[in-house]
């Protein structure tokens, strides 16, 4: 069976949620892999939401809200833009492929754009495959994987850099 990615979407109530609603009532065809979580504003979306989604089995995440200058609360999306600009770089640096997270602006009238965002994200994440690397960090059974290796063994293993050496350089 083909891999069907699980995508969690965090969307703002005023624009993207309404836009997704419009996509539905317009009977637009789109991938059914996305689970939407509605929030008041993109400014309410904490980076921990993305981390938690990955922890609980998501393979990809969509964060979407009002276009700049359209925020119902005037500036929530501006604040979100700053935070996610940084968080995206942080994820990349820590080895989480940033292609797993889509950030977009979708207004209440852009049902078609929402359809495109969903379809593109699902296709991209399907290509990247399941995010087992994250799901199995604690070796539990969200995806039915093998238990993770003993962390202390992993730390001294051959494939990871010598911790002491890294420490010296890291100073």
């Amino acid at each position: 069976m083909d891999f069907q990615p699980r995508i969690t979407a965090f969307v703002c109530n005023w624009c993207t949620y309404t836009g997704a609603d419009l996509a539905g009532t317009s009977r637009l065809q789109m991938a059914a892999n996305v689970r939407i979580i509605r929030l008041p504003c993109t400014g309410r979306i904490d980076h921990m939401f993305i981390v938690k989604a990955f922890e609980r089995g998501a393979d990809g995440v969509i964060v979407s809200g009002c276009h700049p200058a359209d925020c119902h609360y005037t500036a929530g999306n501006y604040h979100a833009r700053r935070r996610f600009g940084v968080f995206r770089e942080l994820m990349d640096f820590m080895g989480i492929d940033p292609r797993r997270v889509t950030f977009s602006w979708v207004s209440a009238s852009e049902g078609v754009k929402w359809k495109d965002v969903v379809n593109e994200t699902v296709a991209r994440v399907a290509e990247l495959g399941p995010f087992d690397a994250y799901h199995e960090l604690a070796g539990d059974t969200i995806t039915g994987g093998e238990p993770a290796p003993d962390p202390f063994e992993a730390a001294s293993g051959a494939e990871t850099p010598d911790p002491l050496e890294a420490h010296e350089v890291g100073r």
């Binding site: 980076h47 922890e55 700053r82 640096f93 604690a138 993770a148 100073r171």
Partner: protein
């Protein structure tokens, strides 16, 4: 040194300060000292081994320091940035603290090392230092110091990591974070981790798993880094406090570079300049948003 001791003695004798927080000679190199009587002022020292960021003791949630009275703190330029951070975030008011600035020619990596600055011993944070003479001070002591030796080791290491694929970086960081025992020494040592209740201590809902498995460790270190983005002064105390040697300075420095690139912001010792997260500009960059 005499200038510093005389000043400390005067502040304590006049009753301007209840305690002078500086450095003294310890059994293993320089260590923080709390001087409460004028007679003890001669214990104070300052040299390249005075690594510690004493701004940490100005954290309003450290009652044992508060009990000593109004503090006079000896600060290097980088420490003054942390004080500015506390002022900016309303954790401190300027009249509640006396700042004694010292002209600094760079510090070594750990206080146990001999006070000789070479390219191999100088702390990585001294690279590109722009505050060798702190500005946010009440008193400035010491002679002008020569430039510290240049070491771009940290930026070199970041460039190496950036050149890897996400999978290889993941491999590197899972190896590093697997060592984390979640002792939270990084948080305790940080002068800017001053939340009344840290999110990692909250259990309802529990955003960050407290067990020290990799999943909890990733959540913690991502959050710690994100919460310090644009605020971290790069003093490196978190990494020095880490008992298992996780190179946290790499993450902090990376985010300093990101913030510089995205918002053209560098952490400053001017408390009037707002931090980039919490502020915004209408024309912020948004290439990453579809």
């Amino acid at each position: 040194m005499k200038e510093l001791r005389d000043l400390a003695r005067k502040l304590l004798a006049d009753g301007d300060a209840g305690v002078v927080i500086g450095w003294e000679e310890g059994r293993r190199g320089a260590r923080p000292a709390f001087i409460t009587t004028p007679d003890d002022a001669d214990k104070l020292i300052f040299d390249a081994r005075c690594v510690h960021n004493l701004a940490n003791y100005l954290n309003p949630r450290k009652p044992q320091v508060k009990a000593l009275g109004k503090p006079a703190v000896v600060v290097k330029g980088c420490d003054a940035k942390a004080v500015a951070g506390l002022l900016r975030e309303a954790q401190l008011t300027r009249d509640r603290v006396i700042l004694i600035g010292v002209r600094c020619g760079g510090v070594v990596q750990t206080p146990e090392m001999p006070a000789e600055l070479t390219e191999a011993t100088v702390a990585t944070r001294c690279y590109g230092c722009d505050v060798r003479e702190p500005k946010l001070v009440d008193h400035l002591v010491g002679d002008a110091q020569p430039e510290p030796p240049v070491t771009a080791a940290l930026d070199r290491r970041i460039a190496e990591l950036d050149a890897l694929s996400p999978q290889e970086r993941w491999q590197f960081w899972t190896g590093q974070l697997a060592k984390c025992t979640r002792c939270h020494a990084c948080r305790q040592a940080c002068p800017l981790c001053h939340c009344e209740r840290c999110i990692t201590d909250k259990t309802q809902p529990q955003w960050i798993e407290s067990s020290s498995h990799l999943r909890g460790n990733f959540a913690w270190h991502l959050t710690r880094a994100q919460h310090l983005a644009g605020r971290c002064v790069g003093c490196g105390e978190c990494e020095r406090a880490c008992p298992v040697g996780i190179p946290l300075s790499l993450i902090n420095r990376k985010l300093q570079l990101v913030v510089k690139d995205l918002f053209d912001y560098t952490v400053t010792d001017d408390p009037e300049v707002p931090a980039p997260i919490g502020a915004y500009a209408v024309d912020d960059r948004q290439e990453f948003i579809e």
